[in-house]
Symmetry: C2
Subunit: 191 residues, 2 copies
């Protein structure tokens, strides 16, 4: 049985706490939905911020909502070089010891002392997908992409929840290296 | 027998004809060596140029020498998006039908109507390496990189010559996706 998974290529983006949303966009402000993402309840917001690293900046970084417990900027390694940072490859939410960043919104700004990561490649599985394919939460998988830049990603982290929809998340460096774009399909070749 | 190959991660760079060197740097100008590259006789030049695409520019693109038969700009897919171009993945020298680019030097400028490529990942083999490992020119190989972003590159083009030194060339998107840098080692896992 072929284990096919849709691919989503994540551009640089940021998650904010509600406190930081209000610092950046004004007291009582809330994120507003631009479009839904593949994971239920998650959305790309209309709002963007600027981020400033020691070497470079990005003027418009999309915020993904809803607000979270911790502010977290996810960039590709290419982006990190442009900012002048060397963030580790981390699972989302694991930000201890990561570099900080200055974030500027239309109303205010905030500098966090940690929160910049290169996201570890991962697949969201609904519990039913994981059961059907015999995949455990936190398992590391091998996933193949075909085509002229075909490759097999190793170290692909499985994340299983009944809140998730089946989707593989890689960053722009990984998407470009593999010659894939959002909506293409990859195949789990070893689990 | 383990088939280990050193990795070289190529940043964006340009090759110029002698005619274009003189347009950009002045009549009678020649490229001067900044440092030698892994392939015998090839060098990074002291000279750089600016390149301007329909959407964006890069101010300082390193020229690799010596001068060639055709001018060719090699960029990552990330770079190509920044320039506003959609170049194909091509072997070096295969530029028919590729996008053009405006190139600006300190003395003059030139616009070529083709020559922008995303370089196909490849390994240079000295003839003796290829014979020892049973690898043919133009063969497509699978090459593994370990570590936290480990992956297996497929579609790795073998190029065999007694003028070559053993080295695998990937671009910055591929290096970042695999978590490797110049001087790291990859292993041919299927040939």
């Amino acid at each position: 049985m072929s284990k096919q998974v849709p691919v989503g290529v994540s551009a640089r983006h940021i998650h904010l706490t509600q406190e930081h949303v209000e610092v950046l966009f004004g007291k009582g402000a809330a994120l507003t939905e631009f479009k839904p993402l593949s994971q239920p309840g998650q959305f790309a917001a209309n709002e963007t911020v600027a981020v400033h690293g020691p070497k470079g900046s990005f003027a418009k970084v999309r915020i993904l909502g809803p607000a979270r417990k911790a502010t977290q900027l996810e960039v590709s390694r290419t982006d990190a070089f442009a900012l002048g940072l060397m963030p580790p490859v981390r699972e989302s939410g694991s930000i201890e010891g990561t570099p900080g960043i200055r974030i500027v919104g239309p109303v205010g700004e905030v500098t966090v002392d940690q929160g910049v990561i290169v996201a570890a490649r991962h697949i969201h599985f609904h519990t039913s997908d994981a059961e059907r394919w015999g995949i455990q939460d936190k398992q590391l998988l091998k996933v193949r992409v075909g085509g002229e830049r075909g490759l097999v990603f190793e170290q692909v982290l499985a994340r299983v929840s009944d809140q998730f929809a089946l989707d593989m998340h890689i960053d722009t460096d990984e998407g470009n290296a593999a010659g894939v774009k959002t909506g293409d399909v990859a195949e789990i070749v070893e689990s």
